[in-house]
């Protein structure tokens, strides 16, 4: 089972990313997924987690992931070294940051810039999802785009797909 934890602030769309990823694998690939937010009241600005579990067989364990294969962090103010201890062996942190990160566990990407360019606003959630997928191939590029179409209203979907495609172009070939 692959477990991905998205971390953002309320309103940044962490759960939307988690949901799109779940839809991509379970509707367009022959896999199973659960996507869920950290339970409780949502408050704008407060740190929020969202989880996606992916497997080749139905997932019966509904509990929150204790260890993750990947952390996708939408806001670098939420990064702490403690997160490294919650990674599975060979796990990675995908971090939205304007700084150059050199670490074997952390992949840095300036998603705000990309989002600004293609969406006209620094809404980094789909950009970061694209960074995750481009680096890990946990779902195919086509199926990710289909899931964006499935989840988002048409106008938003079009813009987000352009954003995602461009990130793929930029990252293609990057190995982890």
């Amino acid at each position: 089972m692959i477990e991905i934890t998205f971390l953002g602030r309320g309103g940044q769309g962490a759960f939307t990313s988690s949901r799109i990823l779940g839809a991509a694998v379970s509707l367009y690939e022959n896999k199973y997924a659960l996507s869920f937010p950290s339970f409780g009241p949502e408050r704008r600005g407060a740190p929020v987690f969202a989880y996606t579990k992916i497997d080749n067989k139905p997932i019966r364990d509904r509990s929150q992931s204790e260890l993750s294969d990947y952390f996708v962090i939408l806001d670098d103010s939420l990064y702490t070294d403690k997160l490294l201890t919650k990674l599975k062996p060979n796990g990675k942190i995908i971090l939205n940051t304007s700084q150059n990160i050199e670490s074997e566990n952390i992949i840095g990407f300036n998603a705000n810039n990309a989002a600004e360019q293609f969406l006209g606003a620094p809404i980094s959630n789909t950009a970061m999802l694209a960074v995750l997928v481009a680096n890990t191939k946990i779902v195919s590029r086509e199926n990710l785009l289909s899931a964006i179409d499935y989840d988002m209203p048409q106008r938003l979907a079009v813009k987000n797909k352009t954003l995602v495609e461009n990130i793929f172009e930029a990252i293609e070939g990057v190995k982890i």
Binding site: S35, F36, R60, Y150
Partner: protein
């Protein structure tokens, strides 16, 4: 073939309700039920669902409103959770005594105090005696399928008893997963139009929900008991029909997983069942003969089914998100009665109260503790899981 979608448990319920085509929906918002009624309101707004959506001032009013609507001949829907369910408690007895075929979704959530929005099952289990049929579901697919089945059960002329479908709060209501949505055509083949024989009628007026003398009252209550007993067979029969049409069936009031040769069984209710199955598979790899019994209906209670499923078991643990303070969990006391003649070591595990996570390890420990009874270990009847960690 139906349509595959990626939705939360709450959304699955809303999709099911839409397919059942209720005419009147009344609800009051409460976390974690709200998404259901938000989706339904959107469907009404988009004219995908031809229903009157009533915003009401309380859960008490929500249930009273759908009762009134139902006895005039409209199929209805309402949903609630936790404190809201308790606020409805009075009307719930009215509805079951009045034999009003309502369908309600309840998002299982802890009861205050301490105040908590997280999931456990003390809300619905504390209303086990309200005369409603109570079902508990495991995942989003079963949520959708059981809402549709619930209408057929409640409205069956022999049953005429309201049905409550329980979904574990957040763990099920807010978790997204892929499900198959049946077609309108499939649902209309399964679910007849709403037709309440005794409904109010301008040409044939009725006096409903009357009082009765002590001499008569017990006769009405006996009728109620018979109806809910009769429902056992009807529930199983309807599930078969549903399977013939949609390809999905759940197998009656209680179902077993790897119970045939199991000497140690955990009995569960609701969405925790899946994780217990994972643990069973893992322990089976060690050669341990373990299994799960999932109770799908708490009322009518599947006593015979549980006895049959546990027939080879020596140790049974009842794992539940409930406690009846001063005694055991309510699921346990019901199971204990069903198994009273079976000579089984029966142990009650109270877990997950107030949304406390129940982990793989917790369940594995329970199995190992139950198994250790064989080697002479004494285990207390009542155990709280996760108090000391």
């Amino acid at each position: 073939m139906g349509n595959k979608v990626f939705v939360s448990g709450d959304e699955a319920v809303a999709l099911a309700v839409k397919l059942a085509k209720p005419k009147v929906i009344a609800a009051y918002p409460i976390t974690p039920q709200t998404i259901v009624v938000e989706r339904l309101a959107e469907m009404v707004e988009k004219r995908e669902l031809d229903a009157q959506y009533m915003y009401v001032e309380s859960e008490h009013s929500a249930l009273a409103a759908v009762m009134g609507a139902s006895v005039l001949g409209a199929r209805t829907f309402t949903a609630t959770s936790s404190q809201g369910l308790l606020y409805m408690a009075e009307v719930m007895h009215y509805a079951s005594g009045g034999r009003v075929p309502l369908v309600m979704m309840n998002a299982n959530r802890a009861l205050a105090l301490p105040w908590s929005i997280f999931g456990d099952q003390r809300d619905s289990l504390s209303l086990l005696d309200s005369g409603w049929i109570q079902a508990y579901v495991e995942d989003a697919q079963e949520s959708l399928d059981m809402i549709i089945q619930a209408y057929a059960i409640a409205e069956n002329n022999k049953v005429l008893t309201p049905v409550m479908i329980n979904l574990d709060g957040f763990v099920l209501t807010h978790t997204f997963e892929a499900i198959e949505v049946p077609t309108e055509e499939q649902v209309s083949r399964f679910l007849p139009e709403f037709n309440l024989e005794g409904k109010m009628d301008l040409n044939n007026p009725k006096n409903l929900f009357f009082s009765s003398s002590p001499a008569d009252n017990i006769k009405f209550k006996f009728q109620q008991q018979q109806a809910i007993e009769d429902a056992k067979e009807i529930i199983a029969e309807l599930d078969k029909q549903y399977k013939e049409i949609t390809g999905r069936g759940y197998g009656g009031l209680a179902v077993g997983y790897k119970t045939e040769d199991a000497d140690t069984i955990i009995i569960t209710l609701g969405s925790i069942t899946g994780l217990v199955k994972d643990v069973v598979d893992s322990l089976r790899n060690e050669g341990l003969k373990v299994g799960v019994v999932k109770i799908r209906f708490m009322r009518p209670f599947p006593d015979k089914e549980i006895l049959e499923l546990c027939k080879n078991a020596k140790k049974v643990g009842v794992l539940e998100k409930d406690i009846s303070f001063g005694y055991h969990g309510t699921v346990y006391t019901n199971v204990a009665d069903a198994l009273k003649s079976a000579g089984i070591e029966l142990v009650n595990y109270i877990a997950g109260l107030g949304g406390k996570n129940i982990s793989f390890n917790d369940i594995e420990n329970i199995f190992r503790e139950l198994i250790s009874i064989d080697s002479g270990r004494k285990v207390q009847t009542l155990n709280f899981v996760g108090v000391t960690d």
